[in-house]
């Protein structure tokens, strides 16, 4: 039973140069109890889709039902059943006021959901404990750390025990420790609160670590979806890196053309072999090399990351949306259902770390998205 379901949901903005489709016809379905990741580069349409699904922005086409309520006919019903944690860039965004205290904001938020005062206070105190904000609840929010603020933002989205919580870029701008701590809390949203979690991210490791299922969005359209491991399997295949003593050409000759073995890239004494299923291929590889009389000095299996998936799907890196030619090898030109491609990436080459993302670029993107909304009006 889908708790979020959209059909052809879209939003166009009018700009000076004409109409721009920020989101063009998104079909998606999220089942109750799932943790689903919405993955895409900046400007792909993640935030716009979230703002539509949370009743903050009116769609220009399509329909959606969220927690059983129709988005356009019963927005109040939608609001009652969902929590939304807006995107934050450093101390800006996220939803809390720097000159208030966490306790004040949480109690107010409960009351805004029309909960009685006593219940709002009780709930606020519970969330303060559960999201490790004890001891800070009466301090001004501007004195809290980034991680504490983000946990408060999430608590604000939980005051009314929503069935679904939308997290827009939950860990952007956090240091690695606060980030993994936040992930723990996000996992517990399902365990402790029974909530369905729909989160947007442009960090692949985040989607990989948290999500049961990933929707990949690019240029306002969902271009792929599935479990992270299936997506990776479908698109890339695994890469086995071999170091050999002796003539690597001999190895290439011995392995070439075998079933399940894709491209073999050679770099000095190192060989990178693309295979469909690394775990099964390794014993086979070792047997072949043994028979050919080649001595292995090391063997390493690298599974593709969602970065590779995105690169293969779009020909661009997720990190900055730039053409792959600028900062990575060209993608293999095959579709999602094709054979294992020969994407020879350095392990971790496209892995994403929060530190290498410009906060200012993101702020600009968010502001631009809001401006587009305004122009539309």
């Amino acid at each position: 039973m889908a708790i979020i379901e959209s059909r052809g949901l879209g939003r166009t903005f009018k700009s000076k140069r004409g109409t721009v489709a920020a989101v063009s016809g998104v079909d998606l379905s999220v089942a109750a109890g799932e943790i689903v990741g919405f993955l895409g580069p900046n400007g792909a349409g993640k935030t716009t889709t979230f703002r539509m699904l949370t009743t903050l922005l009116r769609p220009t086409c399509g329909t959606a039902r969220v927690v059983g309520a129709d988005l356009l006919r019963d927005p109040v019903g939608v609001r009652a059943g969902i929590g939304f944690v807006p995107q934050a860039v450093g101390a800006v965004g996220g939803g809390s006021d720097p000159n208030s205290t966490p306790r004040e904001e949480l109690v107010l938020q409960g009351k805004l959901y029309r909960k009685p005062a006593a219940e709002s206070v009780r709930r606020a105190e519970m969330l303060i404990r559960q999201l490790d904000l004890s001891g800070f609840e009466r301090r001004l929010i501007k004195t809290l750390s980034g991680g504490q603020r983000r946990r408060l933002d999430i608590a604000l989205g939980l005051v009314h025990s929503p069935r679904v919580i939308f997290l827009d870029e939950p860990s952007t701008g956090l240091d690695p420790q606060s980030r993994s701590n936040l992930w723990e809390h996000i996992r517990r949203l399902r365990e402790d609160f029974g909530a369905t979690v729909f989160l947007s991210t442009h960090y692949l490791d985040e989607a990989d670590a948290l999500c049961d299922r990933v929707l990949v969005i690019d240029h306002g359209k969902v271009i792929a979806e599935g479990r992270p491991e299936d997506l990776k399997q479908r698109v890339s295949g695994d890469v086995i890196t071999l170091h050999v003593d002796g003539d690597p050409g001999l190895v290439q000759a011995a392995l070439g053309g075998r079933l399940g073995i894709g491209e073999i890239a050679r770099d000095g004494g190192t060989l990178r072999v693309t295979v469909q299923q690394g775990g099964r291929a390794i014993p086979e590889l070792v047997r072949i090399l043994d028979a050919a009389g080649v001595t292995l000095t090391s063997i390493q299996l690298v599974s593709p990351t969602l970065d590779d998936v995105f690169l293969t799907l779009t020909g661009r890196c997720l990190r900055d949306g730039s053409p792959s030619g600028q900062d990575g090898p060209a993608p293999a030109g095959i579709g999602p259902d094709g054979p294992a491609p020969a994407v020879a990436l350095e392990p971790g080459e496209h892995s994403e770390f929060p530190g290498d993302h410009s906060e200012f670029a993101e702020l600009g993107e968010r502001a631009a998205a809001r401006e587009r909304e305004e122009v539309a009006g």
């Binding site: 922005l57 356009l72 927005p75 807006p86 934050a88 939803g95 720097p98 000159n99 959901y113």
Partner: protein, 255 residues
């Protein structure tokens, strides 16, 4: 009554923020207080020589102008807070709850009206020390006008703030609005001492009618066309501004 409940919640939230930083309330009082102390005596001596054309108590003529000026600067600049709230994500966080869209505006406006009335009472008290003499009923009517001015300007300011989402646009807009209003509404000196063309331009400013009506009230005159005009202009201005702001605050919501 959800709307009243929601308005109350937003009102108290904004009040709490004002009380946490009362220094702003005091700072915005400084300008009219300086006018009262350093310009008031000059005005009084000119007034008492009959050069201004008014009769009666000089400060009864002068203080209403200061009150309008206080309202202009105070209420009109409240829009900056909605720009920063929008930037902090607070506006979205409020809008995603079941709170009435309109209450996000009315709760704030109510706080601004309250703060301005408190400031006005303080200014009137100080004015009395300088020599203001006015009937209590007149002062109360004057406060009513001030409340309407506060509703108009603060609603308009929030509307422009939320529409442009830019402090710089709001600041230039305010300058564009406030300077001509101050010069053309007879806030410092009545326009009647000026040439005919200046009076003609001044008659386009709604504040001109409001200030005339307030001065009448301070002189214990409650009937007459001036009072009716002032009331109609003040109420009309409030209605138009609140309607505009409401449209902006409701804009883009899925209802």
């Amino acid at each position: 009554m959800n709307f009243a409940h929601d308005t109350g919640l937003i009102f108290w939230r904004q009040m709490r923020l004002s009380l946490r930083n009362p220094v702003w309330t005091v700072i915005s009082l400084l300008q009219p207080v300086m006018f009262l102390a350093f310009f008031g005596p000059l005005f009084a001596s000119v007034f008492n020589r009959g050069l201004v054309g008014g009769v009666g108590n000089a400060y009864g003529y002068f203080v209403p102008g200061l009150l309008i000026q206080l309202g202009l600067f105070g209420s009109a600049s409240v829009g900056f807070s909605i720009v920063s709230d929008w930037r902090y994500g607070v506006v979205d966080r409020l809008r995603v709850t079941m709170v009435s869209r309109l209450a996000i505006l009315t709760g704030r406006v109510l706080r601004d009206v309250f703060v301005l009335l408190v400031q006005s009472v303080m200014l009137i008290g100080l004015g009395t020390a300088f020599g203001l003499r006015a009937p209590l009923a007149g002062i109360a009517i004057g406060l009513g006008f001030i409340a309407l001015v506060a509703i108009s300007l603060s609603a308009l300011s929030y509307g422009i703030g939320l529409l442009t989402k830019s402090e710089s646009v709001l600041a230039s807009g305010l300058n564009l609005l406030i300077m001509p209003v101050i010069l053309l509404s007879g806030i410092m000196l009545p326009l009647t001492v000026g040439p005919g063309w200046l009076q003609a331009i001044g008659s386009a400013s709604p504040f001109r009618y409001i200030i005339d009506a307030m001065r009448q009230a301070y002189m214990n005159h409650y009937g007459g066309a001036t009072m009716t005009e002032g009331l109609a202009v003040a109420a009309g201005m409030a209605l138009v501004c609140v309607w505009l702001a409401t449209t902006i605050f409701r804009h883009e919501n899925a209802r």
